[in-house]
């Protein structure tokens, strides 16, 4: 019997069909129908029995699958092969497959989603072949904007990785046109970018000769360097303050300011990364990718991105990024910019590009950049005519919050968020400072590279060697050491003296509790092993708790609702990672110490540990759950556990009279840990309410 849609079953004249009852038990009926069936079942015994029969059949079927089929269907005999190697192959193939193969891939995907009869498949393939014979097929495949940017970035990345200590040398021709007056000016711009050491050199050339402009070192970009370079005339730069016939210094200074105002990177003005940085900051943009031919007949792709208005001064209205079809290399970028008195057009055309090893360049090129940069006085920048040179852009609080979370995430992924060796602080009203000490120059460079694309960031990251050099920053070093729990120097082992519980542990291990009897000479070794592991676990847990507290403190000063959704997710990921790690460390610590401590206490005093030390389940007090207090309380508990662990297992100066109290306190603190952790988990769940079950794997939410 078919379903009768919209039937009201609440009257007892007619009965729902068996199919209706199946829909009902599966929760697939519309709410009104479901309600009427429910009402009917309350009144009708017969239908209730029929429903039960449907339910019983479902139960038997599920039992049949889970009890009989599933246990006999084991995974592949040789075990599951990992997917990683194949994914790497897919990623590598994605950009290099010929057009014909890409079409075949698309066809395969199509038939996977919609299986077609073989005759139809053959007919379609035959048509495709005819099409290929009739039309040329060596055209560059059109791609999405995202794919184009990703391919260009990956290609450049591969170029950089192919050379040791790569330096990007690029020559550009900059043309500026004022739309209203057709006034045109141009400048040749030459750039050297030492990616590994964050050093940058540039020079411009015009009719009056070669001009060396500002150089910079470090990941953070300081616009003063550039405009000051123009103004101070490092090597003969003219002091033009108004539009001259050539207009060269102004052209470059103005372009620099425009790039900065639009989140682009003036050190890599023609690059996929710089373009993407602007593109990401433009919600509601419209984009199109078109094929074109270059002068030499080769193919190119042009990505045109238009921003929605209204436009403030210096905002980019439209960009066109042209990449070579053969290798995705960006060769030209055209900008249409809103000036204060009309539209400005810029084109950046590449005339030369090469990636060179540092050793192949003249040593003098970056010679003056080897020592740390000397802060320049706040020299006035190019005297701005009110129409052209805008002030340095000032970030909004939301921009700063975004930058802060992005920086925290970079540190988190580099795993330097533990122990407070590197911290993220608000340095002033419009900057976020990332400062601290790392173990090596490679580590520092890795972090600086991660931070490079984040706006409004200044960095001051030293290596351990730097801090030992004769002229360190004493205030900075002291601050870092003070704020870092992992900087505490802990003497492990029992070599220099006796632990307060040394004799108890000796007796414990001598009696072979809980495993096999150790040889007498092994007892000290076992005690050392236990102590080292206890201290190590406790210190690791403290590091995680510290990172969690620090993250919490940073986050509570931000308005998380104003964060970009992707950064809220990043925040959630960080918190979750620390919670998981902390729970694991503390679980291991308890598993290691609780049986030992209970045995030692039982041996000397018939002491009941009390309910708090057991695995009692405590319901979190959601009323009082909040970020700050929960994380502080948890940190205090972990800190207490760490202090007591050190006192018992690393400190040889604790008097034996205190040891029993210390053991009891440690057991009680470990017992109370569950409640504190659940409180924090509840607070986290409140701060990051779960999303509904459906989800979309599309582009990141912006």
């Amino acid at each position: 019997m078919n379903r009768r849609l919209g039937t009201d079953w609440s009257n007892r004249e007619s009965h729902p069909s068996e199919e209706d009852l199946l829909y009902y038990v599966d929760g697939e009926l519309p709410p009104r129908e479901a309600a009427s069936v429910r009402e009917h079942l309350e009144a009708c015994w017969t239908c209730r029995v029929r429903t039960e029969q449907v339910q019983e059949t479902i139960s038997s079927f599920v039992r049949f699958l889970t009890d009989s089929i599933t246990p006999n269907l084991r995974p592949p005999a040789s075990g599951w092969k990992p997917l990683n190697a194949q994914m790497a192959r897919v990623a590598a193939e994605a950009n290099t497959r010929p057009l014909l193969l890409q079409w075949l891939d698309a066809w395969r995907k199509l038939t996977m989603l919609w299986p077609l009869p073989r005759t139809l498949t053959l007919a379609a393939l035959w048509s495709l072949l005819v099409f290929l014979l009739v039309f040329r097929v060596d055209r560059v495949p059109p791609v999405s904007a995202n794919q184009l940017i990703q391919n260009a970035a990956e290609f450049q990345d591969r170029q950089l990785h192919a050379v040791a200590q790569p330096v990007v040398h690029q020559k550009l021709r900059i043309r500026r046109t004022v739309a209203a007056s057709h006034q045109e000016s141009s400048v040749a711009w030459e750039l050297w970018n030492d990616a590994g050491h964050h050093r940058f050199r540039q020079q411009a050339e015009d009719a009056s000769g070669r001009r060396v402009l500002a150089a910079s070192r470090g990941a953070a970009f300081d616009p003063h360097d550039w405009t000051a370079g123009l103004e101070l005339g490092d090597a003969g730069v003219s002091h033009q303050t108004s539009d001259g016939p050539a207009g060269l210094p102004r052209t470059l200074a103005e372009l620099t300011q425009i790039l900065l105002a639009n989140r682009m990177d003036p050190r890599r003005p023609l690059s996929a990364e710089s373009f993407e940085a602007w593109r990401e900051s433009v919600p509601g943009r419209s984009e199109a990718v078109k094929e074109s031919s270059l002068a030499d007949g080769s193919k190119a792709l042009t990505l045109t991105t238009e921003a929605p208005g209204p436009f403030r001064a210096n905002a980019i209205i439209q960009t066109q990024l042209v990449v070579r079809g053969a290798d995705w290399h960006p060769i030209e970028q055209r900008l249409k910019v809103q000036g204060e008195r009309g539209i400005l057009n810029y084109s950046l055309t590449e005339t030369a590009f090469e990636v060179l090893p540092l050793s192949a360049l003249p040593p003098l090129l970056f010679a003056d950049l080897v020592p740390p940069p000397i802060p320049k006085p706040p020299a006035p920048v190019v005297p701005a005519s009110p129409t052209i040179i805008p002030p340095v852009p000032v970030p909004t609080p939301a921009d700063l919050a975004d930058a802060e979370v992005e920086a925290l995430f970079v540190l988190h992924r580099a795993k330097v968020c533990l122990g407070g060796r590197v911290s993220v602080v608000r340095s002033d009203a419009d900057r976020i400072a990332v400062q601290g000490v790392v173990e090596s120059a490679e580590r520092r460079d890795e972090i600086l590279t991660g931070l490079q694309s984040i706006p409004w960031i200044t960095t001051e990251i030293q290596t351990a060697d730097d801090t030992l050099s004769p002229a360190p920053n004493p205030e900075g070093s002291a601050e870092v050491a003070e704020s870092s729990p992992s900087m505490q120097v802990v003497t492990l082992g029992v070599q220099s003296g006796k632990l307060p519980i040394q004799d108890l542990l000796e007796e414990y291990f001598a009696q072979g509790h809980p495993g096999a009897l150790p040889a007498p000479g092994d007892i000290n070794h076992k005690i050392t092993e236990l102590s080292n592991r206890a201290v190590l676990l406790s210190e690791s847990a403290l590091d995680e708790a510290w990172a969690l507290r620090h993250l919490t403190e940073s986050v509570t000063t931000l308005k998380t609702d104003d964060l970009r959704p992707s950064l809220r997710y990043a925040l959630e990921v960080m918190v979750h990672d620390h919670l998981t790690a902390l729970q694991a460390q503390m679980g291991n610590s308890r598993q290691l110490l609780e049986p030992v401590l209970v045995a030692l206490l039982d041996r000397h005093r018939e002491l009941a540990v009390g309910p708090s030390a057991g695995n009692t389940f405590a319901v979190p007090d959601s009323e009082n759950s909040n970020w700050i207090s929960s994380s502080h309380q948890l940190f205090a508990t972990v800190e207490q556990i760490d202090r007591l662990t050190l006192a018992l297992f690393a400190d040889t100066s604790v008097p034996p009279a205190r040891r029993e109290a210390a053991m009891q306190e440690l057991l009680a603190a470990m017992g109370g840990w569950d409640t504190k952790f659940q409180d924090l988990e509840a607070a986290v769940a409140k701060a990051f309410p779960g999303k509904p079950g459906s989800f979309t794997l599309n582009s990141p939410p912006e």
């Binding site: 068996e18 029969q53 059949t57 699958l65 009989s68 269907l73 996977m112 794919q147 950064l567």
Partner: protein, 189 residues
């Protein structure tokens, strides 16, 4: 059977980390660990394809990875992967005529009874009889009815089943009802 716990978290991370190929790899690898067993089981049961079940399962995940790399939008990843695995399994089966859906001997092996210490001999015989009746009834269902029942048992809603099998929702309901009806009848015979 679902393994849905933590799924929303994984998907959220995919959203924010999708652009980073490395992170996308990790997330796909996580999904692979979560879902591969149920997909592998489904491929064997609907297509009888023991030999290629692992390869088909992997291929489905690689397709997911490829699509996400290309910036494609996928609304419901689990249904999508099942759909690709389903079609892949049937395509391969169709192209090799000697492969047929599970034959009775294999079924027997798959459904081999296991000793249950909780049951006394009399109960065991009764349970075994019921199980054999259910197995025989299930084998007599049409392929579509079997597929609908297996997917429903994997926790898919009617709409998702319709998407996996590329049929209408009412067809899903009808197939499930007929399947349940046959099982019910044979169970009470």
């Amino acid at each position: 059977m679902g393994g849905e716990a933590g799924l929303v978290r994984v998907e959220s991370e995919l959203l924010c980390l999708k652009r980073e190929t490395l992170k996308l790899d990790e997330k796909i690898a996580q999904l692979y660990e979560q879902w591969r067993d149920s997909i592998y089981r489904y491929v064997i049961l609907v297509a009888g394809n023991f030999a290629e079940a692992e390869e088909i399962t992997q291929e489905a995940f690689l397709q997911l990875y490829r699509c996400l790399l290309n910036g494609k939008e996928i609304r419901d990843a689990r249904s999508w992967v099942f759909r690709v695995a389903h079609n892949c399994a049937l395509n391969r089966t169709a192209s090799r005529k000697y492969v047929v859906p599970l034959d009775p001997v294999v079924w027997e092996k798959l459904c081999e009874a296991r000793e249950d210490p909780a049951l006394d001999p009399e109960q065991f015989v009764l349970e075994e009889e019921k199980r054999q009746r259910l197995q025989a009834a299930f084998q007599q269902l049409s392929a579509l009815q079997q597929q609908c029942l297996l997917l429903r048992a994997e926790g898919f809603r009617y709409e998702q089943i319709a998407e996996v099998l590329d049929i209408s929702i009412s067809n899903v309901g009808r197939s499930l009802h007929r399947g349940i009806k046959k099982l019910m009848r044979d169970r009470h015979e």
